[in-house]
């Protein structure tokens, strides 16, 4: 499936939310852009599984190191921040 088709059928934001919802065992509708992963009860294992899910879904490589969670490689401070980062990486991939 081409990238364009994928974006048409499911916006990036919704796909990221679905991945996080699956890990957090909540309905996608319960996740807000300003939710933090901690709010959703996701620990470090849940986080790396989310990142793995995102990489597999979008065919991108996410620069995330669990030792430096607060560094600017990939902002995970909220669901909205993660969506922005994924959009940036997908756009860079397409360019």
């Amino acid at each position: 499936m081409g990238l364009d088709v994928m974006q048409d059928s499911q916006p990036i934001a919704q796909a990221v939310i679905d991945i996080i919802a699956e890990q957090a065992l909540v309905e996608p509708s319960e996740i807000r852009h300003d939710s933090t992963l901690a709010d959703l009860g996701l620990d470090s294992l849940g986080l790396v599984e989310c990142i793995f899910g995102i990489e597999e879904r979008f065919g991108i490589s996410v620069p995330f190191n669990a030792n430096t969670p607060d560094q600017p490689g990939f902002d995970i401070s909220s669901v909205g921040a993660i969506i922005s980062e994924v959009e940036r990486l997908v756009a860079r991939q397409a360019a």
Partner: protein, 402 residues
């Protein structure tokens, strides 16, 4: 109670092909972390590690036996030969019945698994070498050591991830002390610097692309290595009666489980393990003159281990050098605590504390004296070696000067 002493040591690791070369590298603060050379390295994100360079297995082993020996087994056998040679032990029929082997490994024949999965899955072949199973099994190194030296007593392999070697040596210590054996060969070996072995670790997102900087503020994770070490543990009177040189006494061992998280470190489990090892040795925390830390260089381990040491040592923490030699030889996973015990022997026997290299800046979360970058002279009577595994399994050894 029977006492247990170390009468032989051997190693093959990224810092050296024997104990003397390894300790020389530790004294010099040499870092063996470099570019990885494994097959398909270009498909890895993590491309650094501590490999054993210049090791030529064909000069050590009969070519007809090579198909039985995974790299981890080769490492263990080379180390065991050195340890036995140093001990001067002659294994008679009678001693063979009172001698055994306990080795630690996390991945066993990981490289053999990787190579043969490649054969059947990637290359699509429907046939593998007939000796894949005896080559990959976790107990291969234990069995080959027992066969080479005729050690017919207890023999098995312990696999507790990054604490494997300490758990193995703790068990060997217990067996000699309890009278089940008079001599045990023990330690650990690991060789998983193959594509699959590194790729799996990459997935955890705890590896650094920089270098290993334990306890340093700018640390960004761990670096894998390969290697191992083997020791001869011997009952004290047995060693004395034959005039053996005693390298150190194994004074105490403690092991606990966090029963918490599968990967995140915990403070309470390590605290209890350290206290248990000291109590087993009948020594107060104030007796400690050196701690070889688990010190992986991850943000979480080094912070939590520092807190745990603070809880065990109290005000004495300031007076005890705490170094992580993983900064030099990398994390040898199941074999790591065996190589790290060599740093304890160096502290006890030579009065030299191995440094934590690649250290740039103290970290407010790690209030330990990490012996930054340069080895230090100190008289050490008691040394402790920590190993805290994924899965929350902790194993701590305490050694005393002979």
């Amino acid at each position: 109670m029977r006492r247990v002493v170390i009468t032989g040591a051997g190693t093959l690791n990224p810092l050296g092909h024997d104990v003397a070369a390894t300790l020389e590298a530790m004294r010099a603060g040499r870092c063996a972390i470099d570019r990885l050379t494994c097959r398909d390295v270009e498909r890895l994100t993590v491309r650094i590690g501590a490999e054993i360079r210049g090791f030529e297995p064909e000069t050590h082993f009969d070519p007809r036996r090579m198909s039985l020996l995974d790299r981890a087994t080769q490492i263990a056998l080379v180390a065991a030969r050195q340890a036995m040679a140093q001990s001067g032990l002659e294994v008679t029929e009678a001693l063979g019945l009172r001698a055994g082997v306990v080795m630690g490994t996390a991945g066993g024949g990981n490289t053999t698994v990787d190579d043969n999965y490649r054969t059947v899955y990637q290359e699509g072949k429907n046939r593998v070498h007939p000796l894949v199973v005896p080559r990959l099994m976790h107990n291969a190194a234990t069995s080959h050591i027992s066969m080479e030296f005729g050690l017919k007593g207890p023999g098995y392999t312990v696999s507790t991830a990054c604490a494997s070697a300490n758990h193995a040596m703790g068990q060997a210590f217990h067996m000699v002390r309890a009278g089940m054996a008079d001599v045990m060969l023990t330690g650990g070996a690991e060789a998983m610097l193959c594509f699959g072995g590194i790729k799996a670790w990459e997935g955890l997102r705890v590896m650094t692309l920089d270098t290993c900087r334990p306890f340093s503020r700018d640390r960004t994770g761990m670096v894998q290595g390969e290697g191992g070490a083997v020791f001869v543990f011997e009952e004290y009177e047995h060693a004395r009666a034959r005039g053996a040189e005693i390298l150190a006494e194994v004074a105490g061992f403690g092991m606990t489980s966090d029963a918490g998280d599968i990967v995140m470190p915990d403070r309470d489990g390590p605290v209890r393990a350290m206290r248990m090892a000291l109590a087993d040795a009948a020594l107060p925390p104030q007796a400690l003159g050196y701690v070889n830390a688990h010190g992986t260089g991850t943000a979480a381990n080094d912070r939590v281990e520092s807190q745990a040491l603070g809880e065990v040592l109290g005000a004495h923490l300031r007076a005890v050098p705490v170094s992580s030699t993983k900064s030099m030889h990398g994390h040898l996973i199941g074999g790591t605590s065996a190589v790290e015990l060599l740093a304890c022997l160096m502290a006890l026997r030579e009065g030299v504390i191995a440094p934590t290299v690649n250290f740039t800046e103290a970290c407010p979360d790690c209030l330990v004296d990490a012996v930054p970058n340069v080895a230090r002279a100190a008289r050490v009577d008691v040394a402790m070696s920590n190993a805290f595994a994924f899965g929350g399994l902790n194993a701590v050894l305490v050694l005393r000067r002979a």
